[in-house]
Assembly symmetry: C2
Homo-oligomer: 72 residues x 2
DNA sequence: TTTCTAAGTGCATTATATGGCTCTATTTTG
DNA sequence: CAAAATAGAGCCATATAATGCACTTAGAAA
């Protein structure tokens, strides 16, 4: 699914920046448990949660029209 | 905020496609109430909800690294 | 191996998203 | 204009996301 990509990106980005889940959770002001669940693919996070995390990582969610050639 | 852009895009896209909230909600399989709340900026929808709605509109969420010149 | 650190999980509680129903307001249509 | 369609909002019940705490697991380093 597409969600997995997002999770993977977050995880990779965090690791690139060499931040632990604990630190990221603190800075982003989300519960550590929430971040752990998210990264381990367990949850269905709210937009707010993802946004908080993304921002700390210097990322953002963009909504875009699907390319036509992407029809699977 | 950035969330408003997403809401606006969803709304505009829906209107371009001339679909009512009711129809979109049905096709996307989300509650009409949920869609209404989302479009009116009231909610904090889950990723699943946004994904469902986006897909029906031929859109998708992308996570990207913020452009540097975007620092406000 | 032992120790330490980071990540993942079970459980319980609280907060809140979802969704149905109803009513009102606004917009569109005839 | 009146009627119909559409959107927004209040109330409420249910489902579930967010969270803390404690414990387990995995991996790295000594």
């Amino acid at each position: 699914m597409h969600l997995e990509n997002i999770i993977l990106q977050i995880k990779q980005r965090r690791e690139e920046l060499q931040i632990t889940q604990e630190t990221l959770a603190e800075i982003a002001e989300v519960g550590l448990r929430t971040l752990k669940q998210f990264e381990s693919g367990k949850g269905n996070p709210t937009l707010q949660t993802i946004t908080k995390i993304s921002e700390v990582l210097g990322m953002e969610l963009k909504l875009q029209i699907k390319p036509l050639n992407q029809i699977k």
